[in-house]
Amino acid sequence: MNNNIYLPYLMIIEKIVEEAPGVKTFRLKFKDEEEAKEFKFKAGQFGEYSAFGEGECTFCIASPPTREGYIECTFREAGKVTSTLAAMEEGETMGFRGPFGNTFPMDEWKGKNLLFIAGGIALPPLRCVIWNALDMRDHFKNIQILYGAKSVADLVYKRELKEWEERPDVQLTVTVDPGGETPDWKGEIGFVPSILEKLGPSAENTIAIVCGPPVMIKFSFPVLDKLGFKSENIYTTLENRMKCGVGKCGRCNVGKMYVCKDGPVFSRALLETLPAEY
């Protein structure tokens, strides 16, 4: 009973990368080395990040557990806390509570093909899994990534996209919404679901991990159905409003499931048994 689950770790902002307009990645280091050593998490988990004086907000952990000694988060300036965080500088101290929530069942996925489908700012939760899979590349067969954003400027992790593009063991397709292309854009132009249909990846021995805005998910599922993906082989993450992160404050539930405890990772098969409260 000595641990206060509401007391955050103190984290130092070690590095800030501007990913896209209004989107930043923070690399955070534990101020206390003992805490750093004890900290463990798995792909898919999230945390509550605080700007002292403003409050907390929820982001996934965007760096993979295979890279130790730091965690990263990528966030979009949306409201009160995110704007305050965005104005912070390298060297400043913020708070972190976590890791919370369940994880992607990566052990079960060994020996399979992985198909990542991400839209907009939803690449961060997948980036964690992608690097996790690439850091143990032998365990998986094909790794295919389809990523789309509104415009070329809105694409996040541009350096890493380039790295994935150059790797022979990754098939990367990047697309921007019609009108979002620049004159020298060499990627696809079109919405994620239609590009997915065009690529037509095989459902055979493949897990599809889909993260993105609700419309993208809504229109991607039927395409996956057409391609023969079974519900239990499709995974996504939910982003219900959260406060406590530990199943007590009562706001993140979808039916009897707490997104903060039983999620944020859900198989589509499980989602189909729950009310549409997300």
């Binding site: 206060n4 689950i5 409050g55 400043e92 101290t93 609700p214 406060k243 530990v246 009897k256 405890k261």
Partner: protein
């Protein structure tokens, strides 16, 4: 379980002694037309006369606004001051009814079903509960429909049953109650063996079948019954604030320049902002969805996930509702649908 007798006169003296021993007293007090739990300085302020206080006693373990930790910020340095339980008082909660005492069960389950909630637990473990069995009720009471009763001892450390104008049967229920009794035993007398507690309790009719309610609710998730029931709900949240088992909270910042507190405050699933995403999306955007959440949480999700019903039948939500939504009447509908 020990059975003792205590006269009203001895009880008052006993409570005075408790106070001089440095234990805080949290008990019903009447001010104007309202009776509510308060920390009291004089036992003469005690009110024995209301059927039910407006709010439950939960605030003594789960205050409506509470500091979770504090911080001081200077340039690049932040110092945290953890939650300090050492300043919390030992409290005797006196005069709560069985439906409030039993309410600490579901409340504790929510705060501890997975990780342990230190702020709640630290307050809770400093409480001794001396309840008053019910000799009166009103039309809103329905404890017997949710597994309770006017003489239910669950959750109480000691329970007093008024057996005559000026005296009480005292049942010493838990180890904590016994420790307390041992300390103050000089105020008690032996109880006559032939006192039958049941004879003094009010009768409260069973209004619905709870298992049937649980089962039907899940079946009727998509039905328009929720809309029908909640048409006039104005989403004021009063029902949640008076309830002994409602535990939903918000976490907010209470900042003063370079220092501040992270606080939690009562919230309600009845509020439209409760689940509103920053993106503008809202998974429970209508009042009927929020009413459904309140009922499903208490009567379906909690029984399934925490093996406890999230309602003690105290009737407060219905007494407090400004538009007269009656919970037991609405629950009854799930027996006939």
């Amino acid at each position: 379980m020990k059975r003792k007798y205590i006269s009203r006169h001895s009880l008052m003296n006993c409570l005075k002694k408790v106070q001089t021993d440095g234990i805080s007293l949290y008990a019903p007090v009447t001010r104007g037309e309202q009776t509510d739990f308060r920390f009291i300085t004089s036992v003469d302020d005690l009110s024995f006369d209301s059927v039910q206080t407006v709010r439950s006693a939960k605030a003594v373990a789960f205050p409506c606004s509470e500091k979770l930790f504090s911080y001081t910020k200077e340039k690049n340095d932040v110092q945290l001051q953890d939650y300090n339980p050492d300043v919390l008082p030992e409290v005797l909660v006196f005069g709560l009814h069985p439906c409030d005492a039993v309410g600490f069960g579901p409340l504790g389950s929510i705060f501890n079903w997975d990780t342990q909630d230190k702020p709640y637990n630290e307050r809770r473990k400093r409480l001794t509960l001396i309840s008053l069995a019910c000799t009166r009720a009103d039309e809103y009471c329905f404890c017997t429909s949710v597994g309770g009763g006017p003489g239910n001892t669950e959750g109480s450390d000691i329970q007093l049953t008024p057996i005559q104008e000026d005296g009480y049967l005292a049942e010493i229920i838990t180890d904590k109650g016994n420790e307390w009794y041992e300390k103050y035993s000089s105020f008690f007398e032996e109880a006559a063996e032939d006192i039958r507690k049941e004879n003094y309790l009010v009768e409260i009719p069973v209004k619905f079948n709870i298992e049937e309610v649980e089962r039907k609710m899940t079946e009727l998730f998509e039905s328009d019954i929720w809309q029908l029931q909640s048409e006039r709900c104005i989403g004021c949240g009063a029902c949640a604030f008076v309830c002994p088992t409602c535990a939903c909270f918000d976490i907010q910042e209470d900042a003063h320049g370079n220092t501040g507190n992270r606080i939690r405050c009562w919230d309600s699933c009845g509020f439209a902002l409760f689940t509103l995403h920053t993106s503008g999306d809202n998974p429970r955007s209508t009042q009927s969805q929020r009413w459904r959440q309140r009922l499903m949480h208490k009567f379906s999700y909690m029984p399934e996930r925490l093996t406890v019903v999230g309602c003690t039948g105290c009737g407060r939500c219905s007494r407090a509702c400004p538009v007269d939504m009656n919970l037991s009447d609405n629950l009854k509908m799930f027996n006939y649908e």
